[in-house]
């Protein structure tokens, strides 16, 4: 296990992701956060005292945090700490599991997505999601996979071919699949399938994209391609990514939240959290003493 400092040296010297140019515009948020305030003005989504259960087991025990607009927020923590459950609460996917329920508020642009009048179907078309295991629709072609969400939501696309190209381009997949658009989505490699899933989510122009350990089933090369992709999409779209890989969080995110046993232990700018963690447990975790 390399230490956080070594990690940052690595990143600064030769990593695929350069962060220096990003640091300046973020400083205002950083000040706000270190004073312990919520970044309401800049936040795309505010989570307030969120609790989630499977049956009688409380998985998330009262978490509040704010997701910054057009930034990448990473959620890290040891397995079983509730990080996947947490982001599944952000587009109301947690409740589709039998016996699961949620309490608390999640504000998307100031509107509580758990309000009774809100249809989860509408929330899910605004907040996209990419899953641990790539799950392209096997009975659809690559092209149909990309357009699936639009078709479902009844959006008429005037030039579907252009849109498919644009979205696949955005997902860094166009070059590899432009000649095989009519082949089944299941015929691609794991990494390509995951990028197809990202494209499928992007086609709906989501306001937020949730990624639940999107690289955990992929090899290192596919992983680095997805990371590059996250980095480029993160400039135009709000991303929340769950990862058990701290280096990955450090490489792709601007903010990081550390979860432990269903609680939010620390939430801060990524480079602060990894270099000067404010909490002993965070430090233990990022230096590899447990987890």
């Amino acid at each position: 296990m390399i230490t956080a400092k070594q990690m940052f040296q690595l990143r600064d010297t030769g990593g695929a992701v350069a962060i220096s140019e990003e640091e300046a515009p973020l400083s205002k948020e950083r000040i706000l956060r270190s004073q312990g305030e919520e970044v309401g003005a800049l936040g795309k989504m505010q989570v307030k005292d969120l609790r989630a259960w499977f049956g009688k087991t409380e998985i998330i025990k009262g978490v509040s945090l704010s997701v910054a607009d057009k930034r990448v927020t990473a959620i890290i923590g040891p397995s079983g700490c509730g990080k996947s459950t947490f982001i599944r609460c952000l587009n109301r996917m947690h409740e589709v599991v039998p016996k699961a329920h949620v309490a608390g508020r999640v504000l998307l642009d100031g509107v509580d997505i758990y309000d009774r009048k809100i249809d989860p179907v509408k929330i899910r078309s605004r907040v996209g999601m990419v899953f641990q295991r790539p799950n392209p629709f096997p009975t659809m072609s690559i092209r149909e996979n990309v357009l699936a969400g639009l078709k479902l939501n009844g959006v008429k696309v005037s030039r579907p071919d252009e849109l498919v190209e644009q979205v696949l381009e955005q997902a860094a997949l166009w070059g590899e699949v432009k000649d095989i658009l009519n082949r089944s989505g299941a015929s691609l490699s794991g990494g390509q399938q995951q990028r197809l899933c990202i494209a499928r989510a992007l086609a709906l122009k989501p306001e937020i994209l949730l990624m639940d350990e999107p690289c955990s089933a992929l090899d290192p090369i596919a992983t680095s391609r997805i990371e590059e992709l996250i980095h480029s999409i993160g400039k135009v779209c709000t991303i929340v990514i769950v990862t058990h890989n701290m280096q990955q969080a450090a490489r792709v995110s601007q903010y990081t939240a550390f979860f432990y046993m269903g609680e939010l232990v620390e939430f801060n700018d990524t480079d602060i959290l990894f270099t000067k963690p404010g909490n002993q447990r965070t430090e233990d975790y990022i230096t590899g003493r447990f987890g």
Binding site: P98, K122, R124, N135, F137, P138, L152, N153, R200
Partner: protein
């Protein structure tokens, strides 16, 4: 469950504890045991082969005399040795098709409900109920059909059908006084094959990985859209397999049909009219018929039924198996 089958004999240490096993005792015992159980296992193959042979032999006389052309001849008069079996083929197929038409929408609804929609506390008792429905003997369905279903059909359903759809020849004519006939048989068949079709369809739907559903849900799909996009396209062949299986069951179902179809070797456009099926004909006449040729004709009808159900069963098995091969299927079928 996947199990690695280990060839134990190679892994056992070659320690010979002479007292316990004697010379080569272990391998000898293993061999005997394996061969003995193999012989028992072979009985399944043997019995099936014997059935084919016996039924062919039993129908030899009839095959010689009539070949298979009598299946499409319409006149049936055993006393004068006129054997046209088309009325039975017709009755068998039509009653089973009625059953299928009735059962498909209901069984699929049940399967989708059980696999996708039912709240957790309801799934188990409902599935159990459906399975019990399958366990009730055919004779009991027949009894209930004779004394409850048929009178009710006669009093309530037939008049409504005549009034609303009476312009169709299907629903014309006067039903038998006891309500028995083609439609009654078709309905009881539908009730009987419903559990089979529903539970096989539910199983194939449940084998679709959760990830498929989540992928669609996360795009903002409604529950039904999720089923339509993520579940159904992956299990079409399995559902067809379930229906084919149900069809096979319906074709061969004997007791309840015999008790409800009216048993007359007639072909009528009206579904109210009595009819007969191959199975009901065999049930009624096989033991009574002392005439060798007649017995042989019935055996040949049985042989045809055997072949058809065999093909349907195999087809259904292959279709359901295909679903088990979708990437990441949750359990093998």
């Amino acid at each position: 469950m996947h199990q690695t089958r280990i060839n134990h004999s190679k892994e056992v240490p070659k320690l010979e504890l002479g007292e316990h096993h004697g010379k080569g005792g272990r391998n000898f015992g293993d061999g005997v045991f394996k061969w003995m159980s193999a012989v028992f296992a072979a009985s399944a193959v043997f019995l099936l082969a014997a059935m084919v042979i016996q039924m062919t032999r039993a129908s030899a006389l009839s095959i010689q005399r009539f070949g298979f052309g009598f299946l499409v001849e319409r006149d049936w008069n055993p006393v004068q040795e006129i054997f046209g079996a088309f009325p039975f083929v017709f009755g068998t197929v039509v009653s089973s098709v009625i059953a299928l038409l009735l059962v498909i929408p209901i069984a699929l609804g049940v399967a989708i409900f059980l696999s996708e929609l039912a709240p957790g506390w309801l799934t188990k008792p409902l599935s159990l109920l459906v399975e019990l429905l399958a366990a009730i003997p055919s004779i009991v369905y027949g009894l209930w059909g004779m004394f409850v279903l048929a009178p009710w059909l006669l009093k309530t359903v037939y008049p409504i059908l005549t009034q609303t759809l009476g312009f169709l020849p299907l629903f014309q004519g006067v039903p038998q006084g006891n309500g028995r006939g083609m439609l009654a048989a078709g309905i009881v068949l539908a009730i009987m094959i419903l559990p089979t079709v529903a539970s096989v369809s539910r199983d194939v739907m449940a084998s679709v990985p959760k990830g498929y559903r989540e992928g669609v849900l996360a795009l903002g799909a409604t529950r039904w859209e999720t089923i339509r996009v993520a579940v159904l396209p992956n299990v079409v062949s399995g559902i067809v397999g379930a229906i084919v299986l149900g069809f096979g069951r319906a074709l061969g179902e004997t007791m309840a049909v015999t008790m409800l179809i009216g048993n007359r070797a007639e072909i009528s456009a009206s579904l109210f009219a009595p009819a007969a099926t191959i199975a009901s004909m065999i049930a009624n006449d096989y033991s009574g018929a002392s005439d060798e040729l007649y017995l042989s004709v019935l055996a040949e009808l049985g042989l045809v039924l055997f072949a058809v159900t065999l093909i349907l069963n195999i087809a259904s098995k292959l279709l359901v198996w295909r679903v088990g091969r979708i990437p990441g299927a949750e359990r093998s079928l």
